[in-house]
Symmetry: C2
Subunit: 362 residues, 2 copies
């Protein structure tokens, strides 16, 4: 029912609010990250959570990526359906229903890897893969300071590795971490200490997977990592500009929005609310920047409205009906709100891609 | 592909994270609000943004609601498709593509109403409905203190009403506002002053539409309002409990989540992140409460993880694999993340409803 844009249509004619992707910036972001990681001898494993689009993943693989990173089973299943043969799911997968799907997935994906950070997770994998012809490859997630999931010490990692190595349906493949920004030294220390302990027990550790877009360009500061994972780099966003990881000219995603009201001389209201931009702040005090309105602040979002304070805007003030380009705080969550994504070059729609594994859960 | 729950299945067996709706609480919420507004002689127009489900809207109409409130054209089109005959779209609708859809919609919905707060919006409606056999009903949105959209004074409302009344394709039907919490007095003052000015010019003002769940039970404090609009009341959420508008026993929505990691004695990690709960804070400093873990704080969300601080938890601490029920800060935005919604009674799935008009834009 909804009139999605079509190739050839001008961006100025499409219904807003709508996230749009600049083809040239997307291609440049993919190429630049791959060149950097290749130059440093790291395998690159892009996280598809940011785009959820098979065609974008194919471009990442074509550029040299070794495989994909997914965050949930539905994502992995969708990208397996699309033909990808090397998928890492960076999540503790629990419960009989999901474990049965995981075993089925392992049989049709050339190289499938999951993570574990507890005995409970490992025992679930072991039960689900008892008697499996093809073992499940497992990495141990290590908490190197981010304070999310992960074992807390190299000793705990070794104990869990021994548990995995002892189970016939499982294969211990190595270590993984998602560090905090600036965490290179802590990661290197955790990895090398764990590798030393593992080697002393005769346990190989071929994969050491590090991750994160905010420190993508510091991946070479973790020499013992064999691969790096990153998602946001493909589109970039306001948080990546703030982190110094890209410039405004590298932002591949904008959210087109229409000025629907100008209630006062200093207030504009856009049709992009939290159901288009999400309410992710990522440490900002406002909800994005607007290319056409420098100095304007997106001070609040309701579900279908953004309230913009124009009192410090240094550009020409907008009128009702004007279309502007919002630089979102965080791109990854915006992909999750739309069934399709619009791509363009020079203001003309090039393609409209379906998004996989959104609107579902796990 | 995703294995959605089926009627008869136990909630304890379904894949998480998953929002679920308690049938009895839902029915009680619908009945209670309708009884209150009927007792005070107000028409009730529920906002479907909270649920986006035709069956829930039918229950609201069956209870006595006069019609529906939608926030965008895709919602109105979906509920027109589902057979609803009285729809109010509380939005400035702009641009030739949307206006053409609006005219088509007006021809198939018995009573369709939109709002305007500027000359530009009114001129767009007038151009689109020039020569229309059935005029478009327009309310003027008034800013009574919320600081979002709306004309800023009764005088401005009157000037715009005259403009609407002068255009042959349009019909001025009255006034609308979405006030801030505690705004009853300001709303009553704005409405009565405007009605007096309109009456002096011989302009009728049959509809005076007030709105908001946070002040639903104070709707009677605005005597001149003829109708009230509310969305969140149907499910309720943590923000409604804080506002004193409902109790914990009136919460119809929980988000089921699995404990996927217990990295430290005081930390649990759930599989419900910002892609399941959204990052809406609504003034809270954390991301929901957990029924089973009193005192626990959901301190941060990443896309697929919630980090829970258990250090002040007064209940039994959870283990990996345990399923808990999260009380979300804000229900309306959660409906927007899922393709379907699961309903239950006594822990058993009763039905799984499709959601309309999500994953699309405007």
């Amino acid at each position: 029912m909804f009139p999605w844009p079509e190739p050839g249509q001008k961006l100025s004619e499409i219904v807003t609010p709508m996230p749009v992707i600049d083809e040239d910036r997307l291609a440049a972001n993919i190429a630049r990250a791959q060149a950097y990681l290749s130059a440093h001898g790291k395998a690159f494993r892009p996280h598809i959570k940011t785009h959820k689009i098979a065609a974008v993943a194919r471009a990442q693989i074509a550029a040299g990526a070794v495989g994909l990173n997914c965050q949930k089973l539905t994502e992995a299943e969708a990208f397996a359906d699309a033909g990808f043969g090397d998928i890492l799911v960076t999540y503790n997968i629990l419960g009989p229903a999901r474990l049965a799907r995981l075993r089925a997935l392992n049989e049709r994906v050339g190289r499938l890897t999951v993570i574990a950070d507890s005995d409970t997770t490992v025992e679930g994998y072991a039960r689900a893969f008892a008697g499996a012809a093809k073992p499940l490859a497992v990495l141990i997630e290590c908490d190197t300071g981010a304070g999310r999931v992960g074992v807390q010490s190299p000793e705990a990692a070794v104990a869990l590795a021994e548990r995995i190595a002892a189970r016939p349906g499982l294969r211990f493949d190595g270590l993984l971490t998602y560090p905090p920004v600036g965490g290179a030294e802590a990661v290197e220390s955790f990895l090398t200490r764990t590798m030393t302990l593992l080697a002393a027990r005769g346990i190989g550790c071929p994969v050491r997977s590090n991750g994160g877009s905010p420190d993508l360009w510091k991946a070479h500061l973790v020499p013992s990592a064999t691969e790096h994972r990153a998602g946001t780099y493909v589109y970039n966003d306001r948080s990546m500009v703030r982190a110094g990881e890209c410039t405004q000219a590298d932002l591949a995603m904008h959210v087109l929005a229409t000025v629907v009201s100008r209630p006062t001389p200093t207030r504009a209201v856009l049709d992009a609310g939290s159901k288009a931009l999400t309410s992710d702040l990522l440490g900002f005090s406002d909800h994005g920047e607007i290319e056409e309105l420098p100095g304007a602040r997106v001070v609040s979002l309701s579900e279908e409205h953004a309230v913009v304070d124009l009192s410090s805007c240094t550009g020409a003030l907008p009128g009702v009906g004007d279309v502007v380009r919002v630089i979102p705080n965080h791109t990854c969550v915006i992909s999750n709100l739309f069934d399709r994504m619009v791509f363009h070059r020079g203001g003309v729609v090039t393609r409209v891609e379906d998004l996989a594994a959104r609107g579902t859960v796990w």
